[in-house]
Amino acid sequence: MMRKMMHSLQIKLVLSFVALIIVITGGTFLLTLGQTRTALLEATRENLTQIIGMVSTQITPADINVMSGFKAGDETSDSYLSMLKKLRNMRALSPNITNLYVMRLVDEKITFVVDDVEDDPAAIGQVYEEPEAKLFDAVNGPAVSNNLYTDEWGTFLSGYAPLKDTAGNTALIIGADMEAAKVAERLDFIGNTIYIIMGLAILLAAVIIGIFSVTIIRDIKKLNKTADEISKGNTNVSVNVNRKDEIGELAESFGRMVTSLKIMMAEDEK
């Protein structure tokens, strides 16, 4: 039974078409997913550049002047708390941003000035160990991580912008983090959407191919049955296949042969 099924033209047709669809859609998936992920990461980076650019314009020269004066132990001062509140208010306006912080570059070392993290914030003067190279680019203008970056606080996509004093010199650097989970969520959304579209395409194609092959096989079976009947001596049969394609032409030729056979057999009987 199983052996007969595997030799069935219908099974072969459906399997080969489904295999073809899987190969085509799989190839397309692999090609487009990579491209789409890159494009999405690029769009997220651009989004982060705009956010950090906008945030940096909200910090006034007076704020920069105040923050430049912060030293270790000032975390409870009114001016520090006021700056912290300002950062947190700005962060609240950008739901995709997880942390906002201000840093200072001294002797090739990055130290924290204000960190708006609520759990275990960096203290004033705390050195940022192993910062990513992009952070140093922010001295000249807004910069965003090329990819997700992991430090002691977690894995983030980060954006940085210079905070310039009244003389136009970079006094501080402001940073914004977008949590990896949020970036991954966006990337996964694309991946999942492509999976769903692919699944639906395969399902739809399989149904169409199934219907298509069923009608072809049905008519081939009719021809097969007629030939079988004639081969067993029963000429009282007709070819009942109405198609306009190659199968229809085959049925028409077959019908003519059957008719001729009937004529000749009738002649012989007489």
Binding site: R256, L261, K262, I263
Partner: protein
């Protein structure tokens, strides 16, 4: 073989296949007083087409038999 019998055979072969000659010969000789099919003339066509309709209809179905007879009548 006359031009008319050739034309009838060409038409009928699409419906009846390789035994067309035998079939047409049979219709003319059996139903038209022993008429030899190769000598058929236009005046014989209405009666010949009527028998083709009846006999072919039994083999290929009434609709197709009528279709063939109508084509013969239009020759």
């Amino acid at each position: 073989m006359s031009d008319l019998s050739n034309k009838i055979t060409s038409l009928a072969i699409d419906y009846l296949g390789p035994a067309t000659g035998r079939f047409l010969q049979r219709q003319s000789s059996s139903h038209m007083n022993g008429l030899v099919f190769e000598t058929i003339e236009r005046q014989h066509l209405p009666e010949f087409a009527r028998w083709v309709h009846i006999s072919a209809g039994l083999l290929i179905g009434n609709q197709k038999g009528k279709e063939l007879a109508d084509k013969i009548m239009r020759l």
